[in-house]
């Protein structure tokens, strides 16, 4: 039987309360929401927090709304809620593409958007998606709020810029006319990605005004293919340019070999998935 080691458990009743609890218990405290990454790690003793601060009751963090020209997704929004959100899908179909392939329907009922980002698993899907979307992450601490670009949120595997005592409260995605898509290759339903690519294109006057390309599980710095983005910006959204961007993305990512495949296969996949994501996004243009 896998059971976590003992810990103290406190249920937060507000964001302010959660922050004061995090301050009270110090660096050995962890926030728990869906718990679908943290609890298995605690069972395996890969994580052993002295205290868990449960934020599941914080309804203020569980909303999806449009505010100030941005889609605002509360950190506690469950994957299933983002997947069924019409407003999210209307503005950013990439969010539904990704949510449809994250774990399975039962896990999606429990796992949260904010939890996935804070876990910072290199194979987690939303990191690349929000990096491609150039989302802003709203972080609150006892001293107030700060906003971190999604691309600057991740320090490395399982590591983010969140300081002790800080809480991710929301993800803001600026609403600009765009087309987007996320494509993933996995070995079976609900599995982690062998590789996946996110593409977001802002098209204006027949050229790519701005572009975001994200890569999941493929060793891309900050989860993005910045050099491929540079290649596409300000040019026409042509198949030829997409193919070159895909080649650049494949050349610049740094996948590692594991049970899901060797490096050369994953590098090939990176190029193929970037091309598919770009074509898929443009195919959605009205």
């Amino acid at each position: 039987m896998q059971v976590p080691a003992s810990f103290q458990y406190r249920k937060a009743t507000s964001v302010a309360h959660a922050l004061s609890l995090l301050a009270e218990y110090g660096p050995e405290a962890r926030v728990v929401a869906g718990g679908h990454s943290l609890l298995p790690m605690m069972k395996l003793r890969l994580a052993h927090p002295e205290a868990l601060v449960d934020i599941n009751d914080l309804a203020e963090l569980a909303e999806i709304r449009v505010e100030g020209g941005a889609l605002v997704i509360g950190a506690l929004v469950r994957h299933a809620e983002l997947l069924s959100s019409a407003v999210a899908g209307r503005h950013f179909p990439i969010l539904h593409d990704a949510e449809r392939v994250i774990a399975d329907p039962i896990v999606r009922n429990r796992g949260t958007v904010g939890g996935s980002l804070c876990q910072a698993d290199p194979s987690e899907d939303l990191s690349a998606v929000f990096a491609a979307l150039r989302a802003e992450l709203v972080v609150r601490g006892l001293d107030g709020e700060r906003v971190v670009a999604a691309r600057d949120f991740f320090v490395g595997p399982y590591e983010t810029v969140l300081a002790d005592g800080e809480l991710l409260v929301a993800i803001r995605v600026p609403i600009r006319p765009s087309v987007s898509a996320y494509v993933k290759v996995d070995r079976r339903a609900g599995d982690w990605a062998v590789g996946a690519a996110a593409a977001v294109l802002e098209l204006a006057g027949g050229v790519v005004a701005e572009v975001g390309i994200g890569l999941t599980a493929l060793g891309a710095r900050k989860f993005v293919a910045a050099e491929a983005e540079d290649h596409l910006r300000a040019g026409p959204p042509s198949g030829e340019r997409f193919a070159e961007a895909a080649r650049i993305a494949a050349a610049h990512c740094a996948p590692t070999a594991d049970q899901r495949g060797p490096v050369d296969y994953k590098r090939h996949l990176a190029g193929e998935l970037v091309a598919r994501a770009l074509r898929g996004a443009v195919g959605r243009a009205a």
Binding site: V3, S6, H36, P40, P105, I106, N109
Partner: protein, 157 residues
């Protein structure tokens, strides 16, 4: 810490360790062994119960997280001697072999039909995609859920 959980309509007050998982609370503390305990890593889905009406994998939920909430387990499907249509469907269509995955399959199937009374076989497969049957009896499981959809007007719930 003390928790109060309504399970299948009945309130239970217990003193539990925070690290106790909901699946073990149900099985060990309450003796409701219908909910099975399998992979322990939220992969297999045999431990699915409804938490405030939403199916969750109870091996990855702390019992303290259910404090003040309602849990429905496979024991709460039938009404007395009247089996739920999904249970009757699994009998009618031979939806189980060893039966280990059945409680989780039943709970997810019930939730699916509550939200979509006429799901396609693709819908059923997608809904059950987080659950493993190691007898690989998926064809009959899908048929069983379809049977419940077609014969479930007298749902016990």
């Amino acid at each position: 810490m003390q928790i109060a959980v309504v399970v299948n309509g009945e309130e239970h007050v217990r003193d539990v360790e925070p690290r106790l998982l909901l699946v073990h609370f149900l099985r060990e503390d309450l003796g409701l062994t219908g909910t099975h305990w399998g992979c322990d890593t939220s992969n297999c889905g045999v431990c699915v119960v409804h938490l405030d009406g939403v199916p969750v994998k109870s091996c990855t939920v702390l019992a303290v997280m259910a404090d003040g909430r309602e849990v429905r387990t496979v024991e709460g499907l039938a009404r007395g001697a009247d089996l739920d249509p999904v249970q009757r469907g699994f009998i009618a269509c031979h939806g189980l072999q060893c039966g280990f995955c059945t409680p989780g399959m039943l709970m997810t199937a019930r939730w699916l039909l509550d939200h979509d009374p006429d799901p396609s076989t693709e819908d059923i497969r997608a809904a059950l995609s987080g659950q493993l049957c190691r007898c690989t009896g998926y064809e009959n499981i899908v048929r069983s859920v379809r049977w419940a959809a077609e014969n479930g007007s007298e749902a016990a719930s």
